[in-house]
């Protein structure tokens, strides 16, 4: 049962890489072989010396040139790219804003990308089991402070407890022209909603609700003077309209 103690075991002892059962065996053996214990302790001391010499690097400010740009499309991982491709295939440009009279094509393009981006972000993060959000609702004050700071204006997740949705938390995402916030909600049936908030929204003449359906995801979106908002989910259009109205009412113009 007890394999003989090898030099590899001594290294693993010095490096703290033994499982508890083997650790007891090696400790027992070392007690009877003090010269080998001294040697293994020297190895430990070498590692400690490396830490003394180089740990200071951990505390140095990271040079700016080393930090990758936030908006680099290359940071999209394979899953996000799959979501982009999937939505890209299904979405026909004329689909959103159907029936609307369009005066400013630029504003429409910018507005049109809002529900699509929101739907992509929704599709990517809603299935996440372990990491649906970056900062959880248990740290709501921190979440609010952080996202407000990063988006450059006060931002507060709306309360949807009255209709059975609790806040899961939020995350920061790269958008076309800066950072974007996403809040996630969940109800007792584990259905999830996301609210996508984008700063520097085009100054639309009106703040009316718009609706888009992006590959099975219902998106209600609107803008105010500071942000563009998009609420995504798939609990049905009527239900989503009710929820979006609640969110809308909590964001003063």
């Amino acid at each position: 049962m007890n394999a003989p103690i090898s030099e590899d075991d001594l290294h693993a002892w010095a490096d703290g890489q033994l499982d508890p059962a083997r650790l007891i065996q090696v400790e027992t053996w070392l007690a009877a072989h003090p010269e080998r214990r001294t040697q293994a302790e020297e190895w430990r001391a070498q590692a400690a010396r490396l830490h003394r010499a180089y740990d200071r690097v951990l505390d140095e400010a990271v040079p700016a040139r080393l930090i990758p740009a936030a908006n680099s499309a290359r940071w999209l991982d394979a899953r996000k790219l799959a979501a982009v491709a999937w939505l890209g295939l299904g979405v026909i440009t004329g689909f959103f804003l159907r029936g609307e009279t369009v005066r400013d094509p630029g504003a429409v393009m910018a507005a049109a990308s809002l529900p699509r981006q929101a739907a992509i972000a929704h599709a990517v993060f809603v299935p996440e089991v372990r990491h649906p959000v970056e900062v959880g609702a248990d740290q709501e004050a921190h979440l609010v402070g952080w996202l407000s700071k990063r988006l450059g204006a006060p931002l507060k997740p709306p309360q949807l407890e009255s209709v059975g949705y609790r806040l899961v938390g939020g995350r920061l995402l790269p958008g076309d022209s800066g950072e974007v916030a996403q809040f996630m909600y969940e109800n007792a049936e584990r259905k999830r909603l996301t609210l996508y908030v984008r700063p520097d929204a085009p100054k639309a003449a009106d703040t009316s609700f718009r609706y888009a359906r992006e590959n099975g995801i219902d998106v209600f979106y609107w803008t105010d003077s500071r942000f563009g908002y998009a609420l995504s989910g798939n609990t049905g259009r009527e239900d989503m309209l009710r929820l979006a109205t609640l969110v809308f009412q909590q964001h003063p113009q």
Binding site: Q46, V57, R65, P68, D77
Partner: protein, 167 residues
């Protein structure tokens, strides 16, 4: 945590390892920058189930090996080339650091890498094997030889061994 944030969070550790590996602050940051660039390019190939840290160290290892080949350089540092320690806490610390840097520079690169990944970065032996793409038995033998050699170098027992790394 987003992917980008996850990688950014690893930068200090990449810098620490690169500093110890190259012995020079500027060369170390160049190596870190190259590693991050390469990581970006290969991002889509990265399998999520693999740990990020060993993967980044593996990229850095490949770049470091390529760099050594490209430079055809002799893996030996003359006294004048040795890095000047920054942030000296005391004369004693500075001397200790200089001795250590000199000893590391004199270790064969294969042994230096394993020694640093295990002793400084605290990767498991299996992670080191994956990062360097060598069998775990080779990790153990390099670790063993590296520790003996480092001890001797720090004790001043061994004359510098000049070794052309590659041709």
């Amino acid at each position: 945590m987003s992917n980008r944030d996850a990688i950014i969070a690893e930068i200090p550790r990449l810098r620490r390892y690169a500093r110890a590996l190259t012995g020079r602050a500027d060369a170390a940051d160049d190596l870190v920058q190259e590693t991050l660039q390469r990581a970006l390019e290969k991002w889509r190939l990265w399998q999520r189930q693999r740990d990020l840290r060993p993967w980044l160290f593996s990229i850095m290892h490949n770049l470091h090996v390529d760099g050594r080949r490209r430079d055809h350089r002799i893996d030996f540092c003359a006294d004048d080339d040795l890095p000047v320690p920054v942030q000296r806490a005391s004369q004693q610390d500075a001397l200790e650091l200089r001795d250590l840097e000199r000893a590391l520079a004199l270790l064969p690169p294969d042994q230096r890498e394993v020694l640093l990944l295990v002793g400084l970065e605290e990767l498991s032996y299996a992670e080191v094997a994956r990062a360097l793409k060598i069998p775990q038995g080779t990790v153990m033998s390099r670790l063993s030889r590296g520790r003996v050699r480092l001890r001797a170098l720090l004790a001043g027992e061994t004359a510098p061994i000049l070794k052309v790394v590659s041709t």
